[in-house]
C-alpha cells in the first residue's frame, strides 16, 4: 500500500527484532536501491537500552556492514558529570513534566471513562452521536493541550540554557558529527523510550543526521515520529489508557507505531481499538509486531505484507484500506 507522507528522508520502520530480526534484510534492500553503500558502516543508537547500551552482539546489520554505536547514553552521563548546572536545570524540567503528566493522566482517566461509557450506550443515535463526538473531541483537545504544554516547558528550558551550545554537549556533538560523517545509515533500536528520546534531544541528533537513511524499531520508531504514544491495555494497575506522552523528533507525522501490538493491545476488543484509532486519527495506528515493516521512499509509505493498521472500527487491516 502507499500513503503520502510529509518528509522525504528514507525511513524504514521495523517490528521488534528479538525473535524475528529483519535488520539485515532492511540494509540489503537499502543497498539494492542505492541508498546505502555495500560496505558502509552503520551507526547505531541504543541509548534506550540504558546500561546495556552498545551490546550489539545480537544485531546483524547484514554482510559488509560494521556497526558503530554512538554511545548517547554514556555521553549523557559524561555531560552530567561535566555540567552540573545543566543537569540540575534538566532535572527541574523533568520534574515539571512529571507533574504535568500526572495531571494530564488524571484528567485523561475521567475523560476516557466517560467516552467509553457514552460509546457503549444504546439508544437514539441522533441524540447520542453528537455526545460521543463531543466526548472524543474533549480527549483529542486534552492530548493536544498536553503536548503543547510539554513543548512550552521544553522551549523555556532550551531558551534559558541553550543546551546544544554548552561546551560539554557541543564537544560530544562535534564527535558525533565526525562519526556520522563516516557512516551510510543510522539504526535506532528500541528500549526505554523516554531515555532514548531524552538522549536524542540532548545531542540534537536529528540535525546531525543529514540525509542518512534511518532504520528504527520499537521505541526507536516511536521516538522519531511526531507524537510518542505510550500504551498497554493490560497493565498490572490502572485503566491502561494510551497516553500522548511526548513530542517526538517529527521525522514523520502521519502514523503512530504500536510495537508489540499483539502483546500490549487488546486487539480482540474492537470497541476499544476503534476508540484508539479514532482518538489519534488522521494519524494511522500501525500494529508493529515481529516481522512488520514500513518503508518511506520519496514521501510515500509502503507496508510489508501483514503489517496492519487499525481502522476506525477497531479492526486490524491492510494499510491500503484505511489510507485511501
Amino acid at each position: 500500500m502507499r500513503r503520502r507522507s510529509q518528509r522525504s528522508r528514507r525511513l524504514v520502520l521495523l517490528g521488534p527484532q528479538r525473535v524475528t530480526p529483519t535488520l539485515a534484510a532492511a540494509t540489503e534492500d537499502l543497498v539494492a536501491e542505492g541508498a546505502l553503500e555495500a560496505d558502509a558502516p552503520v551507526a547505531t543508537i541504543t541509548a534506550g537500552w540504558q546500561d546495556r547500551e552498545g551490546s550489539l552482539e545480537h544485531l546483524d546489520p547484514g554482510a559488509g556492514h560494521r556497526l558503530i554505536d554512538l554511545g548517547l547514553y554514556e555521553r549523557a552521563n559524561r555531560v552530567a558529570e561535566a555540567d552540573p548546572e545543566l543537569v540540575e536545570a534538566h532535572h527541574a524540567t523533568q520534574r515539571q513534566l512529571k507533574e504535568l503528566r500526572r495531571v494530564y493522566n488524571l484528567r485523561l482517566r475521567g475523560a476516557m471513562a466517560t467516552w467509553a461509557s457514552i460509546s457503549g450506550m444504546t439508544g437514539d443515535d441522533r441524540l447520542l452521536g453528537p455526545e460521543r463526538e463531543d466526548a472524543l473531541a474533549a480527549i483529542r483537545a486534552l492530548d493536544r493541550r498536553h503536548l503543547v504544554r510539554v513543548a512550552e516547558i521544553r522551549a523555556a528550558y532550551e531558551a534559558e540554557f541553550i543546551p546544544l551550545e554548552r561546551e560539554p554537549v557541543a564537544n560530544e556533538r562535534a564527535d558525533l558529527a565526525g562519526l556520522l560523517a563516516d557512516v551510510g545509515a543510522v539504526v535506532i533500536a528500541g528500549g526505554h523510550v523516554a531515555t532514548l528520546l531524552n538522549r536524542l534531544r540532548m545531542f540534537g541528533v536529528e540535525s546531525s543526521l543529514g540525509n542518512l537513511p534511518l532504520i528504527a524499531w520499537s521505541a526507536g520508531a516511536m521516538a522519531i515520529g511526531s507524537r510518542v504514544v505510550l500504551f498497554h491495555d493490560r497493565p498490572p494497575w490502572g485503566p491502561g489508557n494510551a497516553e500522548a506522552f511526548e513530542i517526538g523528533l517529527g521525522l514523520f507525522d502521519d502514523l503512530i507505531p504500536f510495537p508489540h501490538a499483539s502483546g500490549r493491545l487488546a486487539l480482540s476488543d474492537v470497541d476499544r481499538m476503534g476508540r484508539l484509532a479514532q482518538r489519534f486519527a488522521p494519524d494511522l495506528c500501525i500494529l508493529m509486531d515481529e516481522g512488520a515493516r514500513l518503508d518511506r521512499v520519496d514521501d510515500t509509505w509502503a507496508a510489508a505484507r501483514g503489517t496492519l493498521a487499525l481502522d476506525l472500527a477497531g479492526a486490524g487491516v491492510d494499510l491500503d484500506s484505511v489510507a485511501a
Binding site: P16, G190, S218, P235, P236, P259
Partner: protein, 392 residues
Amino acid sequence: MPWQMGIDPDVEALLPLPAALRDLGHSPDETAITDFVEHNAFPLAEAPFYTFVFRGAADEVRLRHWIFGLPTSQPFTRLGATDLWYRTVEIPDDSRVEYKIEVVRHGKVEWHSDALNPLWARDPFGSNSVLAARGYEEPSWAVEDTDGSGGTIEDLVIESEAFGGARHVSVYRPAGYRDTRRYPLLVVHDGPEYVEYSRLSTVLDRLTEALEIPAMVVALVPPADRMVEYAADERHARFIAEELLPRLEIQYSLRRGAHWRGLMGASLGAVAAFDTARRYPDRFGRLLLQSGSFAFTDIGEGERGSVLEPVVRMMNAYRESPTRIVEQAFVSVGVYEPLVSENRALVPVLRSTGMEVQFAEARDGHNWENWRDRLRDGLTWLFPGPLWMVYE
C-alpha cells in the same frame, strides 16, 4: 441462596447431589464405586456446589476447613452401607479453600489430605488439599519459567548487637545484577518461607522479566524466635533498620532513600514489618502487609494471649495516635481468615495519616498461596516497573 455448609440437616437435604453421585444410586457395588472414583475429578463440582468424597473404612468422616466464621468440622454422609462418604457444600465463585478430611475409626481420629484430589498446598506444618472454586485460577506469573534465567539467592551472616549473635539472611539478586546500576530494596519477613511456599523468587523473576516491577534486591529475613521477635519487638526493628540495612547498602548497589525501600510480611511478619516502619519512619517508604496479626482492643488489654499482648499494646497506641510512617502501604487479607476485621480496620487508620493505601481482599484463607496470589498487585503498585516506558 446464602452459603451453607450443611450444618442443618434440613438445609443439607436441600443441597443438590451432583449428577455423578446421583447416578451411582443408593447401593452401588464395589465395581461401580471403583469406576466412580476412577472416572471423576474430585471434589465433584457443579458450581457453586462442591461435593467432597472419601472412600475407606470409617465410623465417621468430617470435612475440616480453614474458613473463619463457619464451623470447621462438617460431617460427611455415608452412601448406604458402602465405604463411600460425601459432603456437599456451597462455595462462592473465585474461592480457594484449603482443607483436610478427618476420619474417625475405632475412636481414633486422623486428619488426611484428600486422596482423590490432586490439588494441594504446602506450608511449614505440612500440606492441605485445595478446592479451587469456579473462577479461581493459579496466576501464570507464579509459575516457574523453564529458561532458568532468574535471580540468584545468596547467604549473608550479620553479627547483630540488637540480638546479641549472628543472624543469617538470604539475599535475592535479580538476573543481570550489575554493580553499575542501583536497585530498590525489599526486606521480606519470613523470607525463606515466602520463597518455599509462595514461590517468591519465581514471582520476582517473572514480574521483573515482564517489566512489571523493576529489578530489585530482596533481603529474605528469617526469625530466630518468631513469636517473640516479630511481635513488635524493638530489637527486631533495630536489627532491620540499623544493622541489616547499612550492611546491605555496603554489600549491594542500592538506591538511596526511603522511597526506594520496602518492608513486607505476612501474619506476624506483617506486624514486624509495620512495627519496623513505625519505629523508623525515615528509613522505609513502602509497606506490603499480608493478613497482618494487627490485634487491638477498644477497651482493656483483651484476651488474645501472651504472644499478642505486645502487638495489642503497639496497635492500641498507634490507633490512638496514628502517624504517617511510609509513603505507600498495600494491605491484603483473605475474607475466610480470622484477621479480616483487624486488617479492614487498619486501612482507614493508615489513610487518615495521608499515606496512600491500597487494600485487597480475596476469597481465601490465612495461607501462603493466598499471599502468593496477591503479590503481583502489591509489588507492582509499590514498585511499578518500566513496562509503560519500555518497547524493546
